[in-house]
């Protein structure tokens, strides 16, 4: 076991796969010599060679499109989009091509590629370095969407993603790269060092998709969350003094509906959290499924605490971010109804 930050865990996953499988290669903007603007690929070019880890032109559509071709050929490209906010020029290649290749060719051509990209706010990135676009991908048939909340999961899920024979969108909550974050920007930053979930095996291991992680167990309510909001959920439940089933979903598509339904049928109350804008966010999908499968168990309306339906503002970042205050209020409201 080593102690790793989420960045180091991601890098370790990439290193493991580059070492094991000659068909794995990495490219993206600034990922080569420099090692990526968040350093996730630092040292990998030097170790594995220029032709396996290299810089790409600033063309997200080109990066995805080239990866689709390589993946169809039989390689396993793992590409980086520098910020999820910049993934849209590649949206067509992801949705119309990667996601549908297997279907339209009846399995003749497939897209075993992984797209890594940082998501979420909390680093004063403003509207173009803070977005959480997961719902724009969960709506697309043929894509898997994964989002870890800690180093251990990040490495295991990323290795799983690279080994998966379908296209995987791997979202990295950038506010968690260097440490957990409970939503309070005024507290000193915490690092992963010493954190249980920062203990990461050096070698190969995987974490399965479609398996929510149960953080805490309780009978009061169920909190469904993922990414940065997992830490906000934990701190808020504590502060609100409730015993919550907190589920870190990790894999949005495929979704661990079984665990969700089991929990809500037990607690009868449900809170859904995400950083993304509310309308048509992934929370809506969670609510739709929960109310369908747990209708008769529900004792209160399901509440969602999310980013507002506005771009992510720079100066008012903490008014936008769905932090502890709003989460605690929501918990209280649910418990009172």
């Amino acid at each position: 076991m080593a102690q790793m930050s989420m960045i180091e865990a991601i890098r370790s996953a990439l290193d493991v796969k580059l070492s094991q499988d000659p068909d794995v290669l990495i490219f993206g903007e600034d990922v080569g010599y420099f090692g990526g603007v968040f350093r996730c690929t630092a040292g990998l070019q030097e170790k594995h060679g220029l032709h396996r880890v290299f810089d790409a032109p600033i063309a997200e559509g080109g990066i995805v499109g080239a990866a689709v071709g390589m993946a169809a050929f039989g390689l396993r490209p793992c590409i980086e989009i520098q910020f999820a906010d910049y993934i849209y020029p590649g949206y067509d290649q992801i949705c119309s091509e990667a996601a549908r290749m297997r279907y339209r060719s009846a399995g003749e051509f497939t897209s075993p590629l992984t797209i890594r990209t940082p998501v979420g706010g909390g680093i004063h990135g403003g509207q173009t370095h803070s977005q959480s676009p997961e719902a724009l991908f969960t709506h697309i048939a043929g894509l898997k969407t994964i989002i870890p909340s800690n180093p251990y999961d990040a490495k295991g899920l990323l290795i799983k993603a690279i080994e998966d024979n379908d296209p995987v969108l791997f979202l990295e909550p950038k506010r968690l790269y260097n440490g957990p974050f409970d939503g309070d920007p005024n507290k000193p930053a915490v690092s992963w060092a010493g954190h249980e979930l920062g203990e990461v095996p050096e070698g190969h291991y995987t974490v399965d998709f479609e398996q929510a992680r149960v953080l805490t167990q309780g009978d009061d309510l169920t909190i469904l969350c993922y990414g940065t909001m997992v830490w906000v959920a934990e701190a808020s439940a504590k502060a609100a003094g409730v015993n919550a089933d907190i589920l870190d979903l990790r894999s949005l598509m495929p979704l661990d509906l079984e665990a969700i339904v089991k929990s809500v049928n037990k607690t009868g109350r449900c809170l859904v959290l995400h950083e993304a804008t509310r309308t048509s966010g992934f929370g809506a999908e969670l609510i739709a499924e929960v109310q369908q499968h747990c209708f008769y168990a529900l004792e209160a309306p399901i509440v969602r605490v999310t980013g507002w339906d506005t771009p992510y503002p720079h100066a008012l970042e903490w008014e936008y971010f769905p932090g502890q205050k709003r989460t605690i209020e929501a918990i209280r409201k649910i418990m009172e109804s």
Binding site: G62, A66, G69, A72, F73, R102, R104, S105, E108, F109
Partner: protein, 416 residues
């Protein structure tokens, strides 16, 4: 600028909007297009500096003159059997197109697209390549499938979306996928295959293979970003690819000038990225063959990508969904000055004494019979009009490698 531009202006607009030379009602006259007969640009060494291909990118690489004789440096010196094979593939393509078009009109399938006038582009390219070179076609290179020998019945079953369609009736007609023949799954989304082909080519190089990737786009779809990505990535990584632009003058109802703008040729766009670029008479089987061989040799030897513009003409409507006389003169295809690729190759073979009218007629008759036979077999497996024999459960398959739980639930919801 036509009268439309001036008479209907309601403000002092200075906005320029290009228009085709002729619209319905006009008498098309292409005498302004100079057909360079003897003056095909020369054939440089395939490893030439890309910028030295400027004459080829702006001129027109030709071998076959309209009178059936041969000129210039690009003659690929094919033997008569090969030429006859090319002729056969082109004729077969046209016969299949005719038949399928008619069958669509009879309601047997939802849609069809012909490639009339452009058969040389697909067939000669395919014949100049190895089968292990992956082609990334659009919907108008069915000639490749003829050249590579895909059973007609398979093609027809795809169009009929019937029980014999190995793609499970999932796609509209003509969006074939034939991996074993090096024919990439055709996308309905224009342009996307261009950068995918570059990725495939990069993968070939990465694996140390000397296979190449060969992509096709219509001239209209060169306006998509994916074409730009393809040129850029091909240039950056010296990818072993051929990027073909089939300039058939029309993109549905839009003339080539909407995509070309003030550009001299589509091939020249390649030069902008330092890629070798050739503009080729796409109705000249020999020129297409020779240009493809040249570009393939360059790519295999590490010289990187070549852009080839095939200058040709779409003789029929865009698809079964449009009537071309609504936007261009009815006679335009007939007066197009570069002739018909099939007639031109046949004429050449005749001038060589290797072909004659009688053999041509006989071949045509044989091919038609072949097509009729295959179609009958295919139709016996169902048409779109007949109740589908495709198992609805297949709808939920191959979305992912394994059917995930939510799709299993949905399948149950459908009651299967």
């Amino acid at each position: 600028m036509s009268s439309r531009q001036n008479t209907h202006g309601q403000n002092q607009s200075k906005l320029f909007v290009p228009e085709p030379p002729f619209r319905p009602g006009d008498t098309p006259d292409f005498s302004h297009i100079k057909i360079p007969t003897e003056h095909s640009p020369g054939r440089p060494d395939p490893m030439v500096d890309a910028y030295d291909t400027e004459p080829q990118a702006t001129g027109l690489v030709r071998v076959l003159k309209l009178d059936g004789t041969i000129c210039g440096e690009w003659n690929p010196k094919l033997d008569a059997d090969t030429l006859r094979a090319g002729l056969r593939h082109m004729l077969l393509t046209r016969c299949v197109d005719e038949r399928m078009f008619t069958m669509q009109r009879q309601g047997k399938m939802s849609f069809y697209m012909k490639s009339a006038g452009e058969e040389a582009v697909a067939v000669a390219t395919a014949m100049a390549l190895r089968q292990s070179d992956m082609v990334f076609p659009t919907y108008r290179q069915q000639g490749i499938l003829m050249a590579r020998g895909w059973p007609l019945k398979e093609l027809m079953c795809q169009c009929l979306s019937n029980a014999g369609d190995k793609l499970e009736g999932r796609s509209i007609p003509v969006l074939y996928s034939v991996r074993e023949l090096g024919f990439f799954s055709i996308s309905g989304n224009l342009g996307t295959q261009m950068i995918q082909a570059v990725g495939w080519g990069m993968a070939c190089a990465y694996r140390g293979s000397d296979d190449i990737a060969v992509a096709f786009t219509g001239e209209g779809a060169t306006a998509e970003g994916d074409f730009h990505y393809a040129l850029n990535f091909a240039s950056t990584y010296k990818a072993p690819v051929i990027l073909n632009v089939v300039n058939n003058q029309w993109a549905i109802s839009s003339f080539q000038g909407i995509a070309a703008g003030q550009g001299k040729s589509f091939a020249f766009r390649g030069l902008g990225f330092g890629l070798a670029s050739l503009r080729v008479d796409g109705n000249d089987f020999l020129a297409v063959y020779a240009a493809t061989k040249w570009a393939a040799e360059r790519a295999r030897n590490g010289g990187g990508a070549t852009v080839i513009e095939h200058f040709t003409y779409r003789k029929e409507g865009h698809s079964t969904s449009d009537d071309p006389t609504k936007y261009r003169p009815k006679s335009e295809p007939d007066v197009w000055p570069f002739g018909d690729p099939i007639e031109r190759l046949a004429g050449h073979l005749i001038s060589l004494g290797e072909w004659d009218e009688a053999r041509h007629e006989a071949l045509l008759k044989q091919l038609k019979a072949e097509v009729r036979e295959s179609y009958k077999e295919a139709e016996s497996l169902g048409t779109l009009a007949s109740p589908s024999k495709i198992n609805p459960a297949t709808m939920f398959e191959e979305v992912f490698e394994e059917i995930p739980s939510h799709l299993r639930r949905q399948r149950q919801e459908l009651g299967i």
